[in-house]
Symmetry: C2
Subunit: 502 residues, 2 copies
């Protein structure tokens, strides 16, 4: 191998990683710290950064270096770096610079319009920009190309290799598999306690959440917890993963579970290999795998009885109204199954149906079967069919998510992929760590290091060096399959909730 | 004029402005929000952004556009944009990439060494890197070129057109002019009260400072106030100027005055013309003029009696120990003159002497009359001559400022230029707003809008469309002079302090 060629390639790859990280900082700031009037200026800056990144990625010399290295006999890591660089570059080359800039700028404007539309509960403030965004995304899909249908081009951006054809059976089998549990829960919800209402101090809850992160092994010197309208995580660099939560003053449950959820994302970022940090393979492999980490910590840990047996006394020191509750009560209450309107507040059983609604609608839009003008009605109809509930307003309906304003078509399905992968990974981790009793005992003792170490080793440290499905297959020690095996997830739900509701 | 040529030029100019603003965000985050372990990653990202900016600036096509437009008959604004672009580009082109990289790397290492040297009070930990930095800066001056002496090349980076020859008389006349006031103060300091010590709540003081900003007319929807180790201001975009302060729990004076100081910088940023925001002339014109804005609000407003007559009741609502104080007492205490060792804690009368020490020493270094090995001794000697005090240690002496470690040679004089310009501007504003009595009455009533409007019109809105000295001359309605007229500043000091100490 020619060392000089590699050095040139590595320098360019590093630059691209840095520009991506700078974009993460800009996004984090926009949602946590930025003064409101700065929004138009930030949109323009974001457009410039995207354009610069696009120039660097499509640069001809970078292409030549990738070609040259692609023909050489590299070690597997380097070969994977070059292959991913080639994939990224090939995709970028297909996108006209004008479209890239328009997408970035429209996203910034549409996000502002979405916020206003949601606050004022007026969908049609947002609709023109949403229409423009979907039109730009359609252009993007055509430019990128696809085998079967445009939606597959969108999916591939978030979950390498996923197609509508492959995801439809996953949605069908999960929807079908969970139905009995949901019916059972509906009939028997009278048995499940609710959490005590009260007035909770925002600073106190935020302080508790920060302490909780520290206790769970999150490196607070390489991260932060802040408040934002919508909880999220940003990876801003090799030792900089920032998470957010939001706090309701009448109920701390969402804040705590969102903190654990985002912590899962953040731990994935912090668990990536530092020696790969400035390479293509040093990044998280897909949104589905990213979401498996957040779901695992939120649901398999944070919604477990053992976790609350250990954690409740610490929570009670801060959360006054919880002082008369037992771990069993907290456990039952936070696992209460109830079809509802808001995805981010959904329990883990009905959650997949919220995702199914979005999958159905965005697929219909991409297939030309639905327009943005008709979207609110279609949304309400789909909620009625899937969950048996109807939004009172668009703010509680089609306006609840930021994703589409940002152009994230094909993103929602990764939430279900995440739930499904999380169950498979947790099964494998449990087996590796001595079985359910041993793991529960660790949770009771507040010792999450063995689980974290397992995830670091089996998932985080692999970065993007393999395909998502390969990483899951090797971590769970199962053969690769064509589709996504939903069995571990459906079994987990049935097992947990039949006990809870028995 | 060829519209297409202009459009291409404008697009490149805009990109450069955006990259600069993104750099400001990275700097702001680094000093306020960034988790500590993120530092090495951020340094690498910063290096990439600087390299990208340098590439864009030195790009040959940009040079061709500038050449082409330079030969056309443009309107004055556009001609100024092209002229500044040419200046920026010519300077960047003159610097070898190797030198740029070495300067950045040495700054990064030297800053770490400086911190260690300061903590351990051991100058010679820092000295080798400081020597290397000065050597690289000498190379930079040679590359950039100068008419009379290398120091002028350094000055020009921060204050367009300034030279040692022009600044020496400014320092001499200020030093001489202030001497009687300082001697008088030394003799009579027993008459000046000190501020009441106490224990002040950080959140309460911060909240007070935020309210103060709002009352002074700072647009808090286009800015923020946060805490940082050293107060600073960043302009992150046309509607985004963030200021910081620092809070001592035993004395809120520094926090309040630093807030007003940084507010002056921030108002300058927010007062720049929005329609010039993405051009070379839409930026602050120089560090001296920037500092004139901060000094004006800190000293001519924040250290005035009229200001405290209006503000004290509001401050007393938050600052318990101040409740028994009169406006006169606060006024006297915060204007106490006392020669001291630390520049950033100095009063406005002795402050120029701290700057004079640094000017003298860095000039001697650039002229080859002083070596880094002899610098501590020269520092102590200069402090003794100028201020009559001698540092107990190098930590309180030559190691107190970060500037030289970063390669900021020629930066310190802009602090005095700022004080001098501030006095001239405040005189002109006072005359324009109906005289001292009228202005004092406005301050008493908490009405700072007339002053702010005047500064917006006479200084802020001009951006970099003229030279610093031209802006000051037109704002003060005086003819342009060769040097910097120190009379308004010296008169202001004499007038104010002879009354105070009488």
């Amino acid at each position: 191998m020619n060392d000089e060629t590699w050095a040139k390639f590595a320098a360019r790859m590093k630059e691209l990683v840095h520009l991506g990280e700078i974009g993460q900082l800009m996004g984090w700031d926009e949602q946590t710290m930025m003064p409101p009037k700065a929004a138009p200026g930030r949109a323009a800056q974001t457009g410039t950064l995207a354009a610069v990144g696009h120039e660097k990625l499509t640069n001809a010399e970078y292409g030549d270096l990738i070609e040259e290295l692609g023909q050489q006999d590299l070690d597997p890591d380097k070969a994977a770096m070059v292959a991913l660089a080639k994939r990224d570059r090939d995709m970028a080359v297909k996108l006209p610079a004008k479209l890239v800039r328009e997408l970035a700028e429209t996203a910034s404007h549409a996000q502002v319009a979405w916020q206003k539309a949601r606050t004022e509960d007026d969908y049609f403030i947002f609709e023109p920009l949403l229409g423009k965004m979907f039109e730009l995304k359609a252009q993007q899909a055509e430019a990128l190309g696809y085998e079967k249908e445009p939606y597959d081009a969108h999916l591939d951006l978030f979950e390498r290799g996923a197609t509508a054809e492959m995801l439809q059976p996953m949605f069908d089998s999960v929807t079908e598999g969970l139905a009995p549990t949901i019916w059972e829960a509906r009939a028997r919800n009278g048995r499940i306690p609710t959490l005590p209402k009260g007035i909770y101090d925002v600073d106190a809850v935020l302080g508790y959440c920060r302490d909780l992160l520290g206790r769970m092994g999150y490196d607070m010197e390489a991260g932060r917890l802040d408040l934002s309208a919508h909880p999220f995580t940003c990876g801003l660099g090799p030792r900089d993963a920032r998470v957010t939560t939001r706090i309701r003053t009448d109920d701390p449950q969402e804040a705590i579970l969102a903190t654990l959820h985002e912590m899962g994302h953040g731990q994935y970022q912090l668990g990536l290999r530092e020696d790969w940090a400035e390479t293509t393979i040093g990044a998280p492999v897909s949104l589905g795998v990213h979401e498996s980490q957040s779901r695992l910590w939120e649901n398999h840990v944070g919604r477990s009885l053992a976790f609350w047996e250990g954690e409740l006394p610490k929570a009670q020191a801060v959360l006054g109204p919880w002082r008369s509750e037992s771990p069993e009560n907290i456990y039952k209450a936070i696992n209460r199954v109830e079809p509802s309107l808001i995805r981010v507040q959904a329990d883990e059983v009905t959650y997949p149906l919220h995702v199914a609604v979005r999958f159905e609608l965005e697929l219909a839009i991409c297939r030309g079967d639905l327009t943005t003008a008709d979207l609110p009605e279609a949304w309400n109809d789909s909620y009625d069919r899937h969950l048996g509930v109807t939004p009172r307003s668009n703010a509680d309906g089609v306006l609840q998510d930021v994703h589409w304003s940002l152009g994230y078509l094909g993103y929602f399905p990764t939430y279900l992929i995440g739930s499904v992968y999380a169950a498979a990974l947790f099964d494998a981790a449990t087996a590796s760590l001595g079985g359910a009793d041993a793991v529960n005992q660790q949770f009771r003792e507040g010792d999450f290091q063995p689980l974290l170490d397992w995830l670091r080793r089996e998932v985080h440290a692999l970065g993007s060096s393999k395909l998502p499905a390969e990483i899951i297959a090797s971590a769970t020690d199962k053969p690769m399959t064509e589709g996504i095996d939903t069995e571990p997830f459906v079994s987990y739900i049935k097992r947990k909730y039949s006990a809870l509701y028995s």
